[in-house]
């Protein structure tokens, strides 16, 4: 049976893994290459790296770092942040990444998703989105609005409509990273994750808010996510990937057990 994936997310700032709450008050957690090895050996099913300052600083992604990661881990990993062109994305895959992840870039220029799918293969394209709850149901009928630039800018785009459009254009996977839940450790945004998982035919990844094993169980059983991103709860050392997987197994959720 296909297992549910647990994906530690490593936000990178100045070559250090960092974590904040709602994209603020970031603290350094360590070296990305060392952490990549530790998570890979600890049973992570996949990893995702976001170069969170690359876009703001208008510089390309740190490709040497991607290359170093590619040499030491042999599980799939995605890379996002600071990808401005197909050429940048190709360089990331050529450095050993399995997937490239785009967010604001795709919102500003949706056809790039189709271009990416043609040039790089659909299965390598992750579209990440940062939705926030909204009362304006006329503009956003799902109740969630897409934001960009780390919650700094609202777009007026409905999150569910955007997910469907991204799929049509050629996304291979969608990461739903709730702005409201991010870093709170109070649980994923289940309703929106469920809406997207059940209304698209590509894998949906729950992101933002995981603080306890039950949150991850909920993402799989109640929101029908295909994978779940974890950050603070594992970065702090409070939970190991093995502990999370034990809890999922007890809840009857298939997970990878041998690594």
């Amino acid at each position: 049976m296909l297992t549910k994936r647990i994906i530690p997310c490593l936000d990178i700032r100045n070559r250090k893994v960092t974590k904040g709450v709602r994209f603020q008050n970031n603290v350094d957690l360590g070296d990305p290459v060392e952490l990549a090895v530790a998570y890979s050996e600890g049973g992570a099913d996949e990893l995702v790296f976001y170069d969170i300052t690359a876009s703001a600083e208008e510089r390309p992604i740190d490709i040497d770092m991607v290359r170093e990661i590619g040499k030491v881990i042999h599980i799939p990993f995605a890379v996002g942040g600071g990808l401005h062109s197909i050429r940048d994305m190709y360089a990331v895959l050529d450095a050993g990444a399995e997937k490239v992840s785009v967010n604001s870039l795709a919102v500003k220029n949706p056809p790039i998703i189709a271009e990416m799918a043609r040039a790089l293969g659909r299965q390598n394209i992750v579209v990440g989105m940062d939705p926030v709850r909204t009362e304006d149901l006329r503009t956003c009928p799902s109740g969630y609005e897409i934001t960009v630039r780390g919650f700094r800018e609202r777009t007026g785009m409905d999150a569910l409509e955007w997910a469907k459009r991204a799929e049509e254009l050629g996304a291979g996977e969608i990461v739903v990273n709730s702005v409201d839940a991010d870093g709170t450790r109070a649980g994923y945004e289940l309703e929106l994750t469920r809406l997207i998982a059940t209304n698209t035919s590509i894998p949906t990844v729950a992101s933002g808010g995981a603080g306890a094993c039950q949150h991850i169980v909920d993402a799989f059983t109640r929101a029908h996510a295909d994978a779940a991103i974890v950050a603070s709860m594992v970065h702090t050392g409070e939970f190991t990937i093995a502990q999370i997987k034990d809890a999922l197994l007890q809840a009857g959720i298939p997970v990878r057990r041998r690594w």
């Binding site: 042999h74 399995e98 998982a197 035919s201 894998p203 295909d226 994978a227 041998r258």
Partner: protein
Amino acid sequence: MIAIVDYRAGNLTSVRLALEHLGLPAHVTREPREIAAAERVIFPGVGAAGSAMKNLAELGLSEVLRGVVERGTPFLGICLGTQVIFEHSEEDGGVDCLSIVPGRVRKFTPSDPLCKIPQMGWNTIDLRGTHPLFEGIENESEFYFVHSYYPVPSDLSYIFAETEYAGARFASVIAKGNLAATQFHPERSGRLGLRLLENFSKWDGSC
């Protein structure tokens, strides 16, 4: 020396990096003579069967690959490489393939709307017996898959392991004589995937 066949079918970096990690001499090549002379051949690939077959024909590699398998060179197909060694694939409106292994390649047709295509992630493999490539790898171990089509051998003796997805129980490992082929990606399957590649590097092609 292991030849990694480059036929413009996706990114071969991860295969090369996995072999480098193991300290195994490997060479990414599309030169027919190099592939024919290699000690072992890895035939990877990501993408669509139609363009893969077109590229193989243009590069003059179809006959070379058949020859490699016939002469007894240890051969490992991966993902799309595994699919195009069959006779025919349903992909791209139907494509005739290399016909090294009897059988066809079909598309997943899930009845459950929550079952996503492609299959993306780690799934278990149910091994039939033992094989040198799977030494040190327990039955029901998980490997990393990304695919929308799956092989259906017409000669069941080619099936070495099976995996379930989208209501299908499909051949996830093909093995006969010096030929082995996986639908999953050993180069992306962590320690156990590396173990498989290391086993391949020592395999003399017999079972």
